[in-house]
């Protein structure tokens, strides 16, 4: 059976509406409903409140939502071991560089939000932090609206070994994505909001299925549409398997025997 990993999920309350994924049980119920085995989740408080202070996030309820930023496993699992849902949610820390930032953390997969958190992706601090992530074999999720394409180019050129997954790229960005993906083989994309007609197939055929990862951006963007699309892609089954979860497993450093979903 195909394994499905959403690389782009938000856990916790968001400011624009009441959502089922406001807590971990609610998010897992959503994953079950759409038959998604695992989700890489950033916490909403890190996006919308305070990315720097894990202590602040815990104080405001992150722990009770099952997203403690302390004690994550080497893969960043957000669920306690031994529960039925152990490992379903992979905590993705949101990092901020510089003296007012978070430090490089320990996660295998991290997210950077330069525009939202007001730092320069390709500035001295940003490059230093990304370099630390690259040195430990990690990769980054980077929102398309979060940094200019020129900054993504500078980052990828400076750190060619760093996997960069551009998320929430929208349906109008294909030419700009092609510019970056032609130049930088470690740049990939997720499928959240990549909703242009046949865009997923075009990217998978031109750049290889190993550079396309299933993601939703939910609950800010839609999860049902990308999930349904995944099952109807006009690609070889092996390619769809990579997009669905194989590429995410590699990004997270999950060996086959560690897969329990």
């Amino acid at each position: 059976m195909r394994t499905v990993i959403d690389v782009n999920r938000i856990l916790g309350p968001i400011p624009t509406g009441e959502v089922p994924s406001a807590d971990a049980p609610g998010l897992i119920a959503e994953l079950d409903r759409l038959r998604i085995d695992r989700a890489c989740a950033v916490h909403a408080l890190a996006l919308y409140y305070d990315p720097v202070s894990a202590h602040g996030a815990s104080e405001h309820g992150a722990s009770q939502h099952g997203t403690s930023q302390h004690g994550a496993s080497s893969h960043g699992d957000a669920q306690p071991a031994g529960t039925a849902d152990a490992g379903r949610l992979v905590h993705v820390p949101v990092l901020v560089p510089g003296p007012l930032g978070t430090g490089a953390g320990t996660g295998r997969l991290v997210r950077l939000c330069p525009a939202e958190h007001r730092f320069a992706l390709a500035g001295p601090h940003g490059l230093a932090l990304a370099g630390e992530v690259a040195d430990r074999g990690g990769g980054v999720l980077l929102g398309w609206e979060s940094a200019p394409a020129a900054d993504v180019h500078r980052l990828a050129a400076r750190l060619p070994r760093l996997p960069i997954v551009l998320i929430n790229t929208g349906y109008r960005s294909l030419r700009e994505l092609a510019d970056l993906m032609d130049a930088h083989p470690r740049i990939g994309v997720d499928t959240a909001t990549l909703s242009g007609h046949l865009s997923v197939e075009w990217l998978a055929r031109r750049y290889g299925p190993h550079r396309v990862l299933f993601g939703t951006g939910a609950p800010v963007s839609d999860d049902a549409g990308p999930r349904f699309q995944l099952d109807l892609l006009d690609l070889p089954e092996a390619d769809v398997d990579l997009i669905a979860g194989g590429n995410a497993r590699a990004l997270l450093g999950l060996a086959d025997e560690e897969w329990t979903a």
Binding site: R2, R35, L174, H197, A224, F228, L232
Partner: protein, 274 residues
């Protein structure tokens, strides 16, 4: 909203999610396009490619306008539309684009509505930068009323040209014309406003395509406006048909509401065209 249990959706079969398949092969997509567009790339803009996706997704019929017509040249775009409708009988139905700046548009629309496969008129107030309730659109509504045809207009909450309130204005002027509000307001902040207009105006129907719509928003619209006042549209080949379809198939709504969205409401509207 239809009585009955809300579906859990997401039926698991062989690792795929299909939400049940009673809808498959019956879907009518109320908002589609042919052609290409200037400010982003469509990797395969061919009609054959679009039909291939329709086949893969179980969509029986798509109601389309031509993007050349929506953009700079309504006359040429409508001519291309007619040619494609003739090549794809039964799979494509057409909306003739009405350009409010073309003084010959009323006469041309009258001819286009003689074509059996042309089910209505497509208006795009934002592209043409002309308000939906402006006088230059009045002949289009009058012809639609006279010929028993639908009007589909781009609808965008907050737009100077196509805010939902402008739909309320023209719907009241032309109560016999089924008026599809494209995108149901487009922006999440506008979905409630769109539903309120549908509540006030019995001839307004909400069409639900758009990149900002989610299954959660859709379920809320069904609860407030009712699935019998809503139709599925994908905005293909702008957008990927499968993404819009999946948003309905896997939404947390009752199967009966899902079926109204996917084909029931549009079947009723098409039966009403003469």
């Amino acid at each position: 909203m239809t009585d009955g249990d809300t579906t859990e959706g997401g039926a698991v079969e062989g690792g795929a999610v299909d939400g049940g398949d009673a809808w498959r092969g019956r879907v009518i997509d109320a908002h589609g396009h042919l052609g290409s567009w200037f400010n982003f790339a469509i990797p395969d803009p061919s009609t054959a490619g679009l039909l291939s996706v329709m086949d893969r997704a179980g969509v029986a019929t798509m109601c389309v306008s031509h993007l050349l017509g929506v953009g700079p040249d309504a006359r040429a775009g409508n001519a291309l539309l007619l040619a494609e409708l003739a090549r794809r009988p039964g799979r494509l139905l057409g909306y003739a684009v009405y350009d409010p700046h073309d003084r010959q548009a009323p006469a041309r629309l009258a001819e286009l509505l003689d074509e059996p496969a042309v089910i209505g008129v497509k208006l795009h107030p934002d592209t043409h930068q002309y308000p939906l309730d402006g006088p230059a659109y009045a002949p289009a509504f009058a012809l639609a009323a006279d010929r028993g045809r639908l009007v589909l207009s781009h609808g965008e909450h907050g737009s100077a040209w196509s805010d939902p309130e402008r739909f309320a204005t023209v719907a009241a002027r032309h109560p016999g014309v089924p008026l599809l509000m494209g995108h149901a307001g487009l922006w999440p902040a506008g979905f409630d406003a769109a539903a309120r207009v549908a509540d006030r105006c019995p001839n307004v129907v909400l069409e639900i395509c758009g990149s900002r719509m989610t299954a959660r928003h859709l379920a809320r619209l069904v609860a407030t406006a009712g699935a019998d006042r809503m139709v599925f549209g994908s905005d293909a080949l702008f957008l990927d048909l499968r993404v819009g379809l999946g948003r309905v198939v896997l939404a947390p709504i009752a199967p009966a509401d899902r079926d109204l969205l996917l084909f029931g409401t549009m079947t009723r509207l098409l039966k009403g065209t003469r």
